[in-house]
Amino acid sequence: MLDILPDVDRWRADGQRVAVATVIRTVGSSPRPLGSKMAVSDAGSIAGSVSGGCIEGAVIEEAQSVLEDGLPKRLSYGISDEQAWSVGLTCGGEVEVLVERIDG
């Protein structure tokens, strides 16, 4: 969390809306430990990471609707997931991410 804080502070000071994605569950080998975070702003900036780069694109896309309507989302990625072909984890693990908008 501390790693993304300077960026998040700057974006919010600029009046941007910010969503934060957190790794809440991992199975098998996963590139980032539980609690790892990525912040996404509505201006398209990103900070931090939730994987080794394999699911970031998909999470950023999902984050747009969270930024829009403020409703949190729980997302799963991994070999057992139907999206495996598009955004599967190269390491073969599974990861779940919670995305929420910072409101207060």
Partner: protein, 240 residues
């Protein structure tokens, strides 16, 4: 989402546990609990809130991860204060070590009595820069099991009394720069001062993992690598 409170706590280096509902019904509901029992927010059910309070005020704080509380899936996140690194000696290696250490998640404090070295110009990136006799300073700040100390002054008048302070306090890591001859002299002096051999043996010397480097930035990286190894339990803390 309690972001401001969490932010303030993290920047102040406080311990705090954050509970976030991960189930469909209450997804995103959040509660922050501090170990002293202060709480903010709610998970939406009184028995959940009560259980969160109990978990976050227990002697052993919960590990970060999903957990079923009263049958509800909750993501529990325990935030610990940053490990602190005291760098004794505002030398060239220290300039680089501050960079690495901060990037690696340590709070880096530089201490030196020599005001010519310990300048804000050289250490704009340090979390704190202290111009004081290291032994005096270290004797009055809290040292704990999450404290790392690195001695780089090349000056036994500055190093040795301060070494004694941190070794007796029982910190997580003590490392001292110098050749094996310098270290032998240091060991003799600490023995002379009455320090027990078990404590003296805890000094990491030669300091740092063996990366074969001699440049200040390479030595700094070797030290930083050793700090990470100790933090991750790869080397017995206090023993090379």
């Amino acid at each position: 989402m309690g972001f401001e409170s969490l932010r303030r706590s993290l920047l102040a280096g406080e311990r705090v546990v954050m509970f976030t509902r991960a189930d469909g019904a209450g997804l995103g509901a959040r509660m922050l609990v501090w170990p002293d029992g202060r709480a903010e927010g709610a998970l939406g059910e009184a028995n959940l809130d009560q259980e969160a309070l109990t978990l976050a005020t227990a002697e052993t704080l919960p590990a970060t991860g999903l957990r079923a509380i009263e049958g509800v899936e909750v993501f529990v996140e325990t935030f610990e204060p940053l490990p602190q690194l005291f760098i004794v000696g505002a030398v060239h290696v220290a300039v680089h070590l501050v960079h690495f250490a901060r990037r690696l998640g340590f709070r880096a404090v530089v201490v030196d009595a020599r005001s010519a070295f310990a300048t804000a110009e050289r250490f704009p990136h340090a979390d704190e820069l202290v111009v004081e006799w290291p032994a005096d300073y270290l004797a009055r700040v809290p040292l704990h099991a999450n404290t790392y100390c690195v001695f780089l002054t090349h000056d036994e008048k500055l190093d040795n009394p301060a070494l004694q302070v941190v070794l007796e306090a029982g910190v997580r890591y003590v490392g001292a720069l110098g050749s094996s001859r310098t270290h032998a002299k240091r060991v003799a002096a600490l023995r002379e001062a009455g320090l027990a051999d078990e404590l003296i043996d805890g000094i990491h010397a030669p300091i740092g993992l063996d990366l074969g480097g001699r440049k200040p930035e390479e030595i700094a990286m070797a030290i930083a690598a050793e700090l990470v190894a100790v933090r991750n339990g790869r080397q017995a803390a206090g023993k090379r």
